[in-house]
Symmetry: D2
Subunit: 335 residues, 4 copies
């Protein structure tokens, strides 16, 4: 299938391009960016471009919209540009997007393949309601992606209540999103909108599909999001109350969580690995960035606690989105 | 009063020496360290020594023990050396210590002046039980000191439950305690013994003095402690359930918290300042390091949340200990 | 004297304001910034404002230009805004500026008081040529300021040749000048225009006043400028060839360099201190940021080598500029 | 060939093990470390062990010495342990070492394959003089390795004089060699012995083999070595005087430098790549860490200047040593 990456020169866009290099199913045929870069070779603008895409000419967004001519779109544009463009493209073409603008629509799934693959059925609802040939599938916000992978195997124990404090990497803020003078030797405990996203997206992702909509999970959740001086890899300290189960049950559930192994998706890696002390620099590249590392599970006075870390640009953005497309392909949603 | 600092060349010891420079009540007359440094001028071993102490000759620990000849001791020795030495000194001299070894004794207070000054009454219990002329007063572990200052004004609302994730600075691990290769571009979510200390020391500090012992506070508490690449300043994300009160009550309680203002202690600073986004690099030196900065108070699904940051070496160690001695002096415990 | 700081909310401007707090000669009466901040209290916009200036209302640049009504201006505006504004103000008022736009004018000194105080005589040339009542005095680029302070005492040995590699702090790039994602865990060996400035400003500063102009020093100089992940404090590795002198002569010259001691300027500190291993984090605040630290002097195969470090925002910008004004005041250039 | 890595659990040792994973010629059959680790599985001690070596049992150094039973030894032990051990092993077995203890022996080459492959002929001298069946080949100190790769193509222009300032990564100091509190937000311009090594090893490596010894290159060289807060990748600012040639000649020489391409060594990568702004985080992994990145070549008043960066653990240690062994193998020195 011929695919395009929109916003291909940004932090997430570059990750899409890197991960699509050598992909067995998806052939990157268009890299789309702003007018400023249009016409240049991708390797001229992005220094660390994979060799196979160095010569690919960057297409301007306005030109692309006029004549997409691809089978699939990955969107890494900022939210401000995405609303209209995604809807227009979805009339004809499947759109897998990292933007937040459609995440909270009733008929659009926020997909983490290992967690809620069945939410892909909303595609049919979308197509029916909106009269589209394509569709929109979103990835969650990066810290939510990492959190929900760790929560998925614990659903069987009845999740009642979550408090989560995140320590997020600077690459999550985009290339020029965070000033060095702000974060050097510092922790910044404010990331606009992040806590709301973590709370609401988690409930939707872990919710149940009921007819044409998703019934959000019933747990209560409270998040504090902070930025720390780490390049890549979001780390999260999780306090959790369950209806049943003990520490050994939780570890066993983490260890055995491998739900899509049989589907043989090209990018699939074991989604969760248990390690005594998960650390972003040591573990962010596990499973090519798709594996989330969990550890320090203990029982405390307020239920359980554990720590989880994962690659924000791969598991939390581009890698998750490609996995979404692979699942959709395998399940027949891409003709 | 003539005072000595034990362990004067370590990270906490240097902070003691710096803070005692120009102190109106306490005159630093002995700096005590290992045999290796003994006999050298303090300024020769410690590059950033205050000028007034540069010429002070370092005394070896063994020589000091034989003939202390001071009115007061501040202890910054590691736990492994402190147990015996503190007890021997306390037979004659008041000891204010940063070591953990006596913190959990029934008759020894873990003191944070603004929080539990009345626990100083345990000094009489100590003296009676142990037949000492001196006594031992401990400071809490650094992250506990910062946390309890922020919890103290909230006691009136009935603290039921706390989950706290810490992001601790590297200076908390001592000068050679943490390898650069370990923490560079990383978060390490394991600090040995720290979580237990936060949980148990908080309950003791916020507990009530009942006759000859302290009844620990009844809230439940669970901590996850992490290390982040920040030089000084521990930051803590706090999830909190109260029996009553709302966000405005909490902010008002933070703002008006200033319990020892009238005592006119030389080092005293307003212990708590509210700021929208507390950050260790920006706020660690507030109130010469004794002021704790709190912010981001919000109501969430699981009660309240807020963030607090403070200087681990000052509020969390040497500065807190000097404030302890000042309070004891003001209240007449130092003759 | 009533003074204004232009660009008072930027990185350098804030440093000006901080250093003017409690100044015995200069009373900060106007803080000038963009329209966006105009009308707000300074403490509302700048969180760490000195208390005494928190209530000062920010004046917009356009309003200020219409009616300056001060005796002296410190300029921390970007170069793009400075050319015209400085010239207009200088018609009536002395301007001490950190901007580069007038540094290379024949009749404008680049002043480092301890190095080339006599260049102040160019003020008369300016006034005569330009028919101004005021004048313009510039500070050098930050790394040049630090370098020239270390070179000044070596002039007596005949400086022939300099190669200098700088390791510059991120605060030199302004608040939003450098992306965290660019510099985290990295060295960036390119700072636009910096090498040219170091080379040419050094020669002018160390040059001799000949009648109405400065004859640049005759040494040859080559610079490589790099950015490193340090908050404040530029460090420079200097390779130097002299006509005469040995290592002891150089150390002695560094130690005894204290040229303006007798003038009793309010901000003056010994400009140079020798230390075995100069380091930005340990030494940047020496002498309130005005003292430059030098060390590691050795003789090698290609002449001498040494390392120098100093505070880029204080010695290298605002502090140097205030010292310039103090010298001008003392020497009678401010009536 | 069956190979052993001595000091396999240290920073350089781990890099050897990682690079030997899947090596077509060298089969890692023994990982050797201290008594403390002996008997444990390699993967138990080293968390990020390559899968294929996780189960390999660690052999103690003393046991290994008694019965090496391998065809080749890579040594990553500290200098203090290496002198005697290397000599004893070399009686029978070829030793490729990262330790400095034999680097300055007349009959031992400091080898950088692309630079001075012909120095391997010293092996015959060693064998004759010392009556050994094996031999010792050393790698240079890490910053020297990177520097000499960049100097090699410039030999044809007549190198007269070099001043070099290094900015070295923390991994060069070993796992616990550098305290986080020392280097965080800092530059440390002192690395013991480093400057002497750079100066003397460079001349030997770029020297000419004359009969049984190497005549050092005749250029003069002076180095200032600093440590910066970068994880991996040493960066060097080089000031250089040549007898002839201009900037274009230098760039052309860098671009075309690819001396061993034809030998088809398994680890070989183009040793030098030209980039506008070389940066350690962006370029340290080029060519799997064996490619050195050079850029910013300019002509200045004191000759030329440029910047070079490379991976200190790969090009500067383990990777260079493996390449040495590959060259020796290809040239028939390993039977």
């Amino acid at each position: 299938m011929r695919v395009a990456v929109l916003g291909a020169t940004g932090t997430v866009g570059r990750t899409f391009v890197r991960l699509l290099s050598g992909h067995p199913w998806f052939e990157l045929s268009k890299v789309v960016a702003s007018e400023k870069s249009a016409g240049k070779a991708y390797g001229e603008v992005v220094e660390d471009s994979p060799e196979e895409f160095e010569e690919l000419e960057i297409v301007s967004l306005s030109d692309f919209i006029k004549d997409p001519d691809v089978d699939l779109v990955f969107n890494a544009l900022p939210a401000s540009l995405s609303l209209e463009i995604e809807e227009r493209l979805a009339e004809k073409i499947p759109v897998f997007t990292n933007a937040r603008v459609h995440r909270y629509d009733d008929d659009v799934p926020i997909l983490v393949p290992e967690v809620n693959g069945e939410h892909l059925e909303l595609i049919e609802v979308q197509r029916a309601r909106r009269n589209w040939e394509g569709f929109i599938v979103t990835t969650p916000n990066c810290s939510t992606a990492i959190l929900t992978v760790s929560l998925a195997p614990l659903r069987e124990f009845g999740i009642k209540r979550i408090n989560v404090a995140t320590m997020q990497a600077i690459s999550g803020a985009g290339f020029s999103g965070l000033s060095a003078l702000a974060i050097q030797d510092n922790v910044i405990p404010l990331i606009d909108g992040e806590e709301w996203k973590i709370e609401n997206e988690s409930r939707k992702i872990l919710g149940k599909l009921r007819g044409e909509r998703i019934e959000p999970a019933s747990f209560s959740i409270s998040a504090i999001a902070t930025r720390v001086p780490v390049l890549h890899g979001h780390t999260e300290a999780v306090f959790l109350e369950l209806e049943r189960g003990d520490v050994d049950d939780i570890k066993e559930a983490f260890d055995s969580f491998d739900p899509l192994r049989k589907l043989d998706l090209p990018s699939y890696e074991k989604p969760l690995v248990y390690t005594d002390v998960p650390q972003p620099r040591l573990h962010r590249n596990r499973g090519k960035g798709l594996t989330v590392t969990v550890g320090r599970v203990e029982k405390g006075e307020n239920g359980f606690k554990y720590v989880v870390t994962g690659h924000n640009l791969v598991r939390g953005a581009a890698g998750g989105s490609i996995l979404n497309a692979e699942l959709a392909y395998r399940l027949g949603y891409l003709k």
